[in-house]
Amino acid sequence: MTMPFSELVSASNYSFLRGASHPAEMVTCAHALGMAGIGIADRNTVAGVVRAHMAWKELGGKELGGAQGSFRLIVGARLVFAPPETGTATPDIIAYPATRHGWGRLTRLLSLGNRRATKGDCILHLDDLLAHAEDLLLIVMGGDAMGGDAAVLERLVHARPGAVWLAASMPRGGADARRLAQLQALSQASGVALLATNDALYAAPDVRPLHDIITCIREGVTIHAAGKRLLANAERHLKPPTEMARLFRSCPQAIDATGDFLSRISFTLDDLRYEYPHEPVPDGWDAQGWLEHMVMAEAHRRHGATLPAALSTVIAEEFRLIRLKNYACYFLTVHDIVRFARQADPPILCQGRGSAANSVVCYLLGITSVDPVAHKLLFSRFLSEARNEPPDIDVDFEHERREEVMQYIYRRYGRERAGIAATVIHYRPRSTLREVGKVLGLSEDVTSRLAGTIWGNWGNDVPETRMKEAGFDPANPAIARLKYLTDQLLSFPRHLSQHVGGFVLTEGRLDELVPIHNAAMADRTFIEWDKDDIDALGLMKVDVLALGMLTAIRKSFNLLRAQGLGDYTLQNVPLEDAATYAMLQKGDSIGTFQVESRAQINMLPRMKPACLYDLVIQVAIVRPGPIQGGMVHPYLRRRNGEEVVEYPSPAPPHDPDELREVLEKTLGVPLFQEQAMKLAIVAAAFTPAEADGLRRAMATFRNMGTIHRYQTQMIEGMVVRGYKRDFAERCFEQIKGFGEYGFPESHAQAFGWLAYVSSWLKCHHPAIFTCALLNAQPMGFYAPAQLVRDAQEHGVELRAIDVGASDWDNGIEPAGSTLALRLGLRQIDGFRESWAKTIMAARASGPFATIEELARRAAIPPAALRKLGDADGFGGLAHSRRDALWEVQRTPPDQLPLFAFAKAAELGRETDAQLPAMPLAEEVTADYQTTRLSLKAHPMQFLRAALAGEGIISCAEANMAPDGRKIRTAGIVLIRQRPGKGNAVFITIEDESGVVNALLWARDMEHQRAAVMGARLMLIEGEIQRSKEGVVHLMAKRITDRSAMLGRLSGYDTMKTPLTRGDEVHHPHSHSQPARHHGHPRNLRILPPSRDFH
């Protein structure tokens, strides 16, 4: 008969850089060792307890919960106190709530400590604990200074009589028995029971190396220098009850105490009864009734007195589920937030996305803009009877104004009731390799070389091939050690951060539910639990997201209104406009929403979207999920009539057309998550709940464990119903391919609509659309230079920045019968909005005649004048850029503006400095350096003669070349991408005539890597490949870095540029060589950087 023992002092890896095992590992290990229970208490946090709770439930804890002798989990926190200014330090105290009330006291205590500290810290004092000690059971960790402990014990016992224990451990420190005797004496003197514990930091002894590593990371030392900062041995793991009994054989009551302790606690996380915030409803209504009333009123407003039957059925079903699950308040809350945005002055554009668009209630409440009835969307994707978790409503707001919405939520619910969810930041391969490598004593160079081999930043594993690529032998002991430890650390939480916009709202005090932290951003607070924890506990979350395109669309609407071109909203943009689709079919989509990426532009001429639903598919199909699932080509073939659209049928008793229903919209190819679910329901007889489980397994494909369960069920289910096995297997493979990158149809619908609206604006009002896009920067895929150029190609007249005409924002000016786009002062790098405002204010009273007058009237600092001059913004004052700049530089920079201007008036006339005229190439270079774009010319234009002499053709010529022609073309690199599996590199280059899209196979890359990665001006040799839809690709073979040619443009460095130091070629003649003395990088940069993948 083993004695019942529970480890009540165990840390998980949410005690950041202290605990070395996942909460779930601690729980399952304790269970496997035959303990009666385990207590998880992390350092001043409860961030990991939900995961422990989930693991406990997986063990069947729910059923075992009440029974005698079953395995229990208790959750609490290890309180680590701030060192007092005087006197002895307070020992750590482990606090476990005995009741729900106690939990609230604990979370408030932690919130108090968190809110006191800057981010990531928690400053607690013993007095705080005494003030929040109700219903908490406390375990005092015996320190070395016995005198101090006695005083603490006395205070605690006074505050919480009968609820204090003294922890005793046997750390194998050499004097364990003596320490235990001292603790026993202290226990008797103070009347506090001893409690046996091993103060566990990890589950099993073999975790010691990892624990040593995180200790070193914490202390910032290498393992070789860490010395006694490491623990002497591997004893701080969970030990089996028999072993604990043996260690404490001289004090068995300490073992028994763990059982007493456990029996005093009734609280589990399941007791956290969550209540939605009660929304105010008019007298005489309850929440459900009010919700139904509002929805029905809107339905009748749209459809008249009698509703279509389909609509009524869906509404009734949704009402039933909402009532059943008691979600009415949730819908009202989201409705309230959306209403705030719409009623703001000026209104903030917003639109629901994600699965909420499956709900007709959301649609009728105005949260989403897609009619789910019309599109036969699957409501159970949003809400299902079986799923005991709240629905997920995500709403996009204009990115520039989302903060207003967030502050409204804080205002309305108060910081005690509203908080942003946390995001657990995990160790990432690059940083982990660096940190572990540093601890192991590898040089920063070696570790960064290793880290540099990981393209992208995802994945849970550092593949061996990557190591080999970097020239490291994975079998080398040092590398093997690094890899072994890095792999273990990769899944660890690193710290908590705030979620992008997930709000948790409660009716009661939020800080009695979960501790609250200060976020790094001012005026933000976030809670300790992340999205998964919140889901697991059934808390409500509203995602308040930011979307740049909504800002751009709103700005477009405002400009249209101001120009008297119509009063548009997201709802009344003309539907199914033929011209818009014609434009998209040509692949002309730069600047639009979602369909502007290079892959999308390639797809547009193949898809030839002709209606909104085509756009929805277009948005969804060019995604890693469908691409990897191999769905794109079958869909295209079927759409173009090259392949028969067929729907496999089940064996006779079943409806032969059952799949037609599911897959007709997408020509028999499953593209959306809902279709995968419906397919499982219809063809494999899944219940909706099982189908939802399948979706979740798809969404988190890292949990590979669960998906196999569904695999068998689905394939066998389909086979039983008479489908061919290979079809069933193919279906499942496709579904698996979705991974987490597939879209739900509802989401694609929401995005498809924004894609349409933005395309419509681009098609009919290119000047206004470009203006709005520029004013909404940074956003989207393209830099201002490309947007401006695209506008010019669409016949928009662009006007240069001019202090006499430009506002801060880019603006619209009439130009005969059309509109011209005037670049605004915001395009100047480093220019301030306040300067622009004073210029605009001064200009209101009359135009400026001279720069001096501008300087005096607008009273802007010399720095602003210089930036204006640099950007050629004095054009209207009849100065050349060079003369203007020479003029504005006359005010010395180190004088206060006031004195400078006072003096400036007396400076009098200077003799003409007779500056050399600025060549056009230099003008263009200067434009790019100050505004990142030039209206005067394209830099490549000046190199054209030289390039043509070498037989290099322009991008436009390349795009005209026949299929199979071998050509050489050159341009400025806009984008380098290495998507997906990384077997090809996509490069987009640009010259004055257009852009060329090139593709380089990875196998051709390595030997010319330097050119591929380093070139700003790239010469590409390869073969033209022209698809029958007219999509042109350059299949690159040889890449040459011709960046040196750019140096000729500026005209500055025709002088010899020195090379800096060290062993250098004796007489350097490398012209474009930026040297150390050049100073600010802007001076080196002629063009803005490309978008690269590394």
Binding site: P205, N233, A234, R481, Q889, P892, H1066, H1077
Partner: protein, 485 residues
Amino acid sequence: MLYAKSGNALRLTSGDAQAVRAGLCAGMSLADARARFPHLIAVEQDSAADSGWLARLGQDCLGYTPQVTLLPPDAIGMDITGSAHLFGGELAMVDMVLDRFNDMGMTTRAACGITPEAAAALARYADWPMGDEAAAIRGLPLDALGLDDAARRGLQRAGLTSVGAVASRPMAAIAARFGMAAVDAIERLTGLERAPMTAIKPPAPLHFTRRFAEPVTHQSAIARSLLALLQDAACVLEKRGQGGRRFRLTLLRSDGARHRLDIATSAPTRDPALVLRLFDERIATLADPLDPGFGYDQMQLAIGAVEGLVSVQATFVGEEGAQDGGEQAIAELIDRLSTRLGPDCIQRLAPQDSHIPEQAQLALPASTNPAPLRWPAPPIGEPPLRPLFLFDPPQRIEVIAEVPDGPPHRFRWRRGLHEVRLYEGPERIAGEWWRRRGGEQAAKAGLTRDYYRIEDMRGRRFWLFRHGLYAEKPDPRWYLHGLFA
């Protein structure tokens, strides 16, 4: 390439010819460079070593002229006015200097100019030899002016891209825009103005000499003179706030023979009495005592290895009452013994940061400065955890003990049987897995030791350990590692 940390990024600072040909340049981030050349060899820049090297080269140049200036990070200026003719004129001299440095394996650029600034700029930006120096200066790029970024950019934007272009504009216009600093820079380059040079000084050697009109032969006279020399030295050292660690006395005999005596101290000192005593020790240990012969006519004292030494105010009560008289006395004793027996014969234990007992201290020559680590203070009222004496290596013993981790009951050491009366332990110390190949895996992490403090029936105290837990090794061995007093 060399790289250095700048802000949050590692950036390249300089590279060799191959790297530059490949398109890498200073200022680029190391990550970018690696993206292009995964096999790039990059070493962190050591600025301290660079400036140390430059200083050494500067000293070296003192052979050409007494006026040498260091222009960190990578240049040396020499004022060769009046010394060029010694080396065959400017052209020949520059070639000679270039040859010399190139022979050292460096790549060097050099030039002569009318002012130091002109020379520096020409060396950096022009080809040597230049025909017309004034023309070459006019042709220099803007960078040669060494202006701040704003001013340089302003001039570039104005289309004034060479020194000549700037210099030909009215200076008032330049001053109004870029300040007097710009005008000064131009005038210094073109030779209209000169800035003072701060030349490096050869380190003044601490040499003290005493010549005697009559050769001295008496030991006492020598000692008296030596004391006088040491007092001179003490005055100089005190002014500098320094003390010496190495002293060399050279005795020049009237017949031309020389005697050299060297002593070293463990701490910097300038106390004449102390140094004199050490010299006495040194003389006493000489195999062939000093033979003054016809007498010494000159004594030289040289002091090497000076270190900072704060002045200590003398106390009223004298040395006996001084607070750290003990420390002082020990240091003196160590110096005396080291001088007498040789520095390696006197050792001290320095604490090391390690759990492994035999690695927790290191024996160092006593004259070296003690390590910054302090010995852990023993907890008050606790018996010592570590013995005074450690066996190296630990001695194998036969033990009868409780399994798995109970204390020994009796053990046999050097044929004596010891019955255990009292024990405390175990103190468990795991192996250092990171020193073992594959040690990160549990099976290869090395053996754990369980230490026990033991008192036998006769009251003798031992420190034993079992090498390995039973879980690690079926039949772990026992060792005696140390003896308590």
